[in-house]
Symmetry: C2
Subunit: 222 residues, 2 copies
């Protein structure tokens, strides 16, 4: 409650686990550090909390800088405070996860990042700091949320087929789903609209679906 003599004023950062779905795989946006410590290593994009800013605002700022998106789902996962998690000085970090659509937002490398690209979650390299753990924890949290709420539609483009939605669910959850049961469940959602279009260039002639964002927001805010 109070800062006593032996208490510590630590720097505080927000790190973002930015999930996207592209090429039939769940992906995460990583940046490559240009400066020590961990220069050359891949890490989660993050930034220091500023003077009059909440941590969530910090995370939104990072998100805007890196992928230029606003108004996305952003959820706090946890706070990491191991005194040695940063090799140079004490830095506490709070992680958030965000769901975005990679197609619309090319990542940009800025600040201390040399490079910023999407990586398949199933094949991320070893990350700097304790970011492997942050990523694992965020992925677990996403799975937990996805099992109770239809969150995944935030990751899908304007038009998509039910099979694409199923591949996304399967990739996040890490398990195979029954096609008929999955489709029945989705068709029960009132925010899912069948269009008259079909996807070309793929066999079977699958119908395209779209999201009524108003109804989706209502379903997510229970």
């Amino acid at each position: 409650m109070r800062v006593t003599p032996s208490s510590v004023a630590s720097a505080h950062t927000a790190d973002c686990v930015i999930f996207g779905f592209a090429d039939k795989e769940l992906r995460v946006l990583l940046v490559r550090r240009a400066v020590p410590p961990f220069a050359g290593d891949w890490v989660l994009p993050g930034g220091a909390m500023m003077d009059r800013e909440t941590l969530e605002e910090t995370a939104r700022r990072v998100l805007l800088d890196m992928v230029g998106v606003k108004n996305v789902t952003l959820r706090q996962v946890g706070t990491y405070s191991d005194p040695d998690r940063h090799p140079v000085r004490r830095v506490v970090t709070t992680s958030f996860y965000a769901l975005v659509q990679p197609k619309h937002h090319a990542p940009e490398a800025r600040g201390h990042a040399r490079e910023a690209t999407w990586h398949a979650v199933s094949a991320v390299p070893n990350l700097g700091f304790d970011h492997d753990r942050l990523l694992r924890d965020a992925h677990q949290r996403l799975i937990l949320h996805l099992r109770t709420r239809p969150l995944a539609f935030e990751l899908l483009p304007e038009r998509f087929t039910l099979t694409e939605a199923q591949l996304l669910y399967e990739d996040i959850l890490g398990e195979e789903l029954d096609r008929r049961n999955f489709r029945r469940k989705l068709q029960g959602y009132d925010f899912l609209m069948e269009t008259t279009e079909i996807r070309s260039g793929v066999k079977g002639g699958p119908k395209l679906y779209a999201i009524d964002h108003g109804l989706l927001a209502a379903a997510l805010s229970d």
Copy 2:
């Protein structure tokens, strides 16, 4: 990731939402502040993170100081970083909830606390800082955990009747449960052992049950 010129080094505290069960009600341990800000107000016990300490260690230290317990369930709930949440200077806090058995541990008022007592969760006074929100969030998290894991037994004494367990569940969840369904569910737990003792001083002659802590730990660590 880095401390830039306009970033802020804030004090960081851990606040504990210590739940206990006594007199047939879910309770929470609160302390009354002896010093400004919020002198005289009830708040959650908390303390500043020290130099070589994780936030969880801070929470455990507070817990030990306040109720003298070790080895309890301690779960991180969230981090609160509104720049104005502390009226004097910037303090970020991370909250944890803990489950303890009030009988064995008399609360002690120490440090900046004038008084420390158990309050029924259903009738807590207005708290200082943003602790009303911390308490609400922690209670919601406890409910979430309780619905998926048999956590509540950490709150019960060595010997208890099934009715007592039911009252605890009902008080945490805020809803009434069917007695037969509840008992069937509990009797399915392998860590619950029926004893030969019965509780005296109460009508009906109810059997007392005990917990096999090894099996409980196994069940909780799925």
